[in-house]
């Protein structure tokens, strides 16, 4: 038998090799093991701290807590324990949808387990009729807090309130940024907050003679509920405006400051840059029909570890709800201080709503829910309720990409629930305006609903 030619074998083998190369369809490298947390079961325990003013501040506050209705899968009522952080709380049955008043002294906390844990919300409101309004939500404890726009000068003073709701001690480090960088402070690391106690720190004691500050609260051990009450007057003869500063968990490269009052004498954007790099900001305004760059505002640069005030007076449209969007390659913090003749409003950066949010309304003021869409169109359901849980008013809003829309809850409403629908991102705040004076703003944050369960996998090393 004739043996096949080797030349033929050469051709066959080379073609086979080429075919093997051409037919290879390499699989893509594995996706990184990182994955966002998944939504898990309903939360089974919620504890909120509602800060109080230092004794003798002369403010008569109201603290109200409620169980928000309208959360998916959450219908049951339950028992909520209210009372001072230090103990001696009172259990009270709360029906779903109702809003009740609780004692405002002793750094009050509201604690719910079981069915009442989901949808628990509350706020402390302070009002001096015709002069000032201040609102701050009751907050859950966590490890990281940032406050922008605090002060420790003659016309601007702030007080940090730390509450430890847990059975173990919390150890906290404070960091203060001023216009010229990190402010040298003494005894601000290793601050121990004993279990079930409240501690207050006047910033004047930490960084005297500095009007604009950013404050970091970092729990090295345990967690705390932190709030900052702020008193500001534009000049020595001007009335003092009171406000609770909005908190952020961490700096971000994309911030939306929402809840600005539609009118103000002066507006100041305060941007803090805690990083070691200079931050070059892109400041835009999200108005009714979309985002635009305000004319007259040049390039804004914030030095490392510094806070910078940027005067926005006259640069924002008046008579319409707007939000200020700040983007930067370096993570920053931002807030907008609006000053009217009798009060100031400190609007902070709002986080995207990951679920329904609720905000307590202040009787005697007009409130406006201001919502800003992300890059895509957003759909939102809004419902206002009376304190009894009766539905007062509701609406569905569709917001154009990057635009800001406003909605009024209507008279007689005690609180409002904002529910994002669909996939569009939306952030927002409630802006309060007193009939005779006083402004305030509270960013909307998601209600405690379902646990966010981080993705956990066994590792190899």
């Amino acid at each position: 038998m004739r043996r096949p030619s080797t030349a033929l074998a050469v051709v066959v083998l080379v073609l086979a090799a080429v075919a093997a190369v051409l037919l290879t369809r390499p699989a893509a490298p594995a996706a990184p093991p990182a994955a966002p947390p998944s939504v898990g079961r309903l939360v089974s325990s919620t504890a909120l701290a509602c800060p109080d003013q230092p004794p003798g501040s002369g403010v008569s506050p109201t603290v109200r807590v409620g169980l928000a209705p309208g959360l998916p899968g959450v219908h049951r009522s339950g028992t909520v324990e209210t009372g001072p952080v230090s103990g001696g709380s009172t259990a009270r049955a709360l029906s779903r949808g109702s809003l009740v008043t609780m004692p405002a002294d002793g750094g009050p906390e509201a604690r719910a387990t079981g069915a009442a844990a989901a949808g628990l919300f509350g706020a402390r409101t302070e009002r001096v009729p015709g002069k000032a309004v201040a609102v701050t939500p009751c907050v859950a404890a966590r490890a990281r807090w940032w406050f922008t726009g605090a002060g420790a000068g003659l016309d601007h003073s702030s007080t940090l309130v730390l509450a430890n709701l847990d059975p173990g001690p919390a150890v906290v480090d404070l960091r203060v940024l001023g216009p010229d960088g990190d402010v040298e402070t003494v005894a601000t690391t290793g601050i121990v907050v004993a279990p079930h106690t409240v501690r207050r720190f006047a910033l004047a004691d930490l960084a005297p003679q500095t009007d604009d500050l950013a404050l970091s609260v970092k729990a090295e051990r345990g967690r705390v509920a932190a709030s900052v009450t702020d008193a500001f007057r534009q000049r020595a003869t001007a009335p003092t405006g009171r406000e609770w500063l909005s908190a952020s968990e961490q700096p971000s490269r994309d911030l939306t400051v929402s809840g600005l009052p539609v009118k103000a004498q002066r507006r100041t954007l305060l941007v803090a840059n805690p990083s070691e790099l200079e931050a070059v900001l892109d400041v835009r305004v999200a108005g009714r029909s979309g985002t635009f760059t305000p004319t007259g505002l040049g390039e804004v640069t914030v030095g490392p570890r510094a806070i910078l005030p940027v005067d926005l007076t006259g640069l924002l449209p008046t008579g319409e709800p707007v939000a200020v969007r700040v983007t930067s390659r370096t993570p920053v913090l931002a807030m907008v201080r609006s000053v009217d003749p009798t009060d100031t409003s400190d609007a902070g950066a709002a986080d995207p709503l990951t679920g329904p949010a609720a905000a307590v309304l202040v009787p005697g003021t007009t409130a406006s829910v201001q919502l800003t869409a992300g890059r895509s169109r957003a759909h939102v359901g809004l419902t206002s309720y009376a304190a009894s849980g009766r539905r007062v008013h509701s609406a569905r809003l569709t917001i154009s990409p990057t635009a800001t829309a406003a909605w009024s809850p209507g008279a007689g409403a005690a609180y409002v629930v904002v529910s994002p629908r669909g996939s569009g991102s939306v952030r927002g705040a409630v802006s309060y305006g007193g009939g005779g004076g006083g402004v305030a703003s509270v960013p909307l944050g998601a209600l405690p609903g379902r646990e966010l369960r981080p993705r956990v996998v066994p590792g190899l090393r």
Partner: protein
Amino acid sequence: MTTLVTALLVSHDGDRWLAAVLDGLAAQTRQPDRCVAVDTASTDTGPLLLRQRLGADAVLEAPATSGFGEAVAHGLSGLPPAEEHEWVWLLHDDSAPAPDALERLLVVAGDQPSVSVLGPTLRAWPSLRRLLEVGVTISGTGGRETGLEHGEHDQGQHDRVRDVLAVNTAGMLVRRSLLESLGLDPRLPLFGNDIDFGWRAARAGERVVVVPDAVVFHVEAAHRGLRRTPVTGRVRRGERAAALYVLLVNAPPVTLPLRVVRLLLGSLLRALGLLLVRAPREALDELSGLASTYLRPGRVVAGRRARRGTAKVPHREVRHLLAPAWVPYRRGLDLVGDAVSRGAHQAGDRSAARRARHVEPAATETGPVPAEAQSLPDDPGVLGRLVAGPVAWTSALLVLAAVVAARDLVGHGTLQGGALLPAPDSALDWWRTYLGSEHRIGTGSSAPAAPYLLPMAVAGTVLVGRAWLLVAVLFLLAVPLAAWGAHRFLLRVTASRPASLWGAVAYGVLPVVTGAVQGGRLGTVVGTLVLPWLAHAALFLRAGESADRRARAAWRTALWLGVLAAFVPVAWAMAVLVGLVVLVAAGGDRTVMSRVVLTPLVAVLVLLLPWSLATWSHQGPAAALFEAGLPSPHLARALGRWDLVLGRPGAGAPLWLSTGVLLAALAALLRPDTRRAVLRAWTVVVVALATTAVLASSTFSTSSSTTDQPLWMGFPLVVAQAAGIAAAALAGSGIRSRLTGASFGWRQPVGALVVVLAVLTPLASVLWWASSGSAGALHRGSGSDVPTYMTDAALEAPVNGVLVLRGSTASGFRYVLLRQPGMRLGDDSVLPSAAAQSRLTAYVEDLAAAPTAAEVRALSRLGVAFVYAPAPADAALAAHLDSVSGLSRASATGRSDRAWQLDSPPSDEDLHLAADRSRPWLLLVQGLALGVAAVLAAPSRRRAA
């Protein structure tokens, strides 16, 4: 005083030698006074010859089943009553006395009246000068000791009459009275009766001497198997059984129990040793000899009882006649020394053969080694060759480059990174993991350890347990080691030393050029080192080799393939493909080829037990596709077409560095005279690329590493490159004369260009490697970032586990439950599956989301004493863990990491600790298979004629 001598000749089928024996008897200068012969039913002409020479009356008949002692007794019974000074001279039908033998014996008997037994010097029958025995004794293990060197010639060196334990019955002169009173033990029909008789005579207070001047030439027909009688049976078995019997019946009662045990163990050990040198029949004889003695204790008891009546002097007085206690051990050492020298001799032969081949570069086929090559006149010697040869310089250059390239990998700590986990403290840890059927790792596992741990453990043990040293040698000296193996292989397949050297360097740099070293890919690195040796062994499977050599090569191939597949299991599948191609192409040799090709392929599955059988149910079927080392999804990258063609599975050298090899491999196909061999190499290229094409197209996961990931295709691409290099080296043999010898045309410039590019490729690769270094993901560092006090507690009691949590709430967490200071090389293969850890996973999710005291208590029941979050610890996680009761903050090592200790004492009540009961048996099967394969792969004891 009259001395009467009766010669007593015992005969059985010995007519071949009988005439010479009778001649010797007749030629005695002192004739025996009587001659008697006893024939034990011979079937040859022996009886006739005896009657003719001695007279019919002098020849007695005995049954064929008579032993030597019975024949002697029969002969004595036919004699008149014994006289006072009567001697009996025992002769065999294969022992011819020298003419003066009897005279010299009688002279000594006359001079030394106290002597009762005398023996001559026994010399080999054919050679006449070679000494067989000058007296004989027995060692403690039953060895028949003559005190002579093997093949020692009689040059008068043993000229002194001396007392001995015994003399051979061939030529033994013994007082008739003693012979009749003691007798030869009928339980020793053929073998060992001389030693036994001498020993009993000594115990009876009689002297036994050897008379060196008296010479008897002995065939040792029974011992050599030249004569078969109904009582010989299997010679070795009979000799061994007799030796054991003699020792047991004559030993002092005090030492008897110890001797029984010693002989039993010694015999088993000898049988094992005989098996190891591929002598199964001898091993069987050893065992059956042992059994025939030990299973009939009544014989020993009766023998001892019989000796009690004749013993007159204590044991201690005859002890000096026995072989010294160290004799068996010296014999053992001699055996080992012989084996080593034989091996060295073979290696020397092979080396000489190799040199001989390269003296004549045109000779491409292997063949018999010319005699002159065995002793090359101008051989500069080993040292000279090392210093002067290009191989030595190349090796030195590669080692130097390895030292330079390792500059970032020296210092404190252990090599790790990429797919490489740090080596354990000792090779014992590898043994423990490999042999253990239950692993206290994580929540407990009974997974079979990866098979590569066995060769790692063996090699680590050779390095005095230094596991880190083994890993360092493998990674830092990968290039010179790979080049060494490739050079050995290429020298065998090509006739050209330059081509072999080029191919060796081109192959040697593959571990670094492919990025395997830098990525910590243990499997590919070791696979690259082993591949040339596997190919070298497989070369001898080809037709044309002797059957014995092919059979041994099959087992050697099985062992090398086993080592390779232990590190790179995919190699087995590739070997199957290559084997199929070989079988298809085998043609008429297919039957034999099937055997020699299938043997290694099937044997590997047994050699890799228990992993090959059990990993399917533990780590899942895809585990057979992952090579040694940590599955590292983050190191994988999508392969491009040129990555495939030029062999870049990972971040290695620039692609252009390999173009020379590619061009040379393609150009190799153009040379007609080497094309057949080149096509074989190209077949391997196609198999490797086809394997890559199939495996690279999918993602895989194991039950403990559940992230789907593409496979690291390092080894298949190394095989493709290696085959390309081999093709180029085959065609590059004699390329210069080929190019210069032909008439000028386009081939010369193109060929020269390809040669230049090919030569530059390994040089450039070495330069690139030396300049860029071996470091990458591979680095040297400390094994663990977990606080020492935690790992110390875990080492002290494994129940004090450390739960290490990495990651963040936003991106997810990875956890590992440590019961030692970090994961070590090999631990990854026995990790519990993700499913087996699902409970722990759920608890960790709860810890990271909303922990309660219940989860903390559950953790303590899983053997968790500490929770540790390395820097940067997730703030939310830390806050959660700080807020839950049952956990207390513990000391961490830095500002950004966090540590907690569980308040309740840990326990293992919820741990899954169930040993796999079949594991020891599978390991036993593997051990036996390895032993059998090693024995069958070893060089034959008898050289092929």
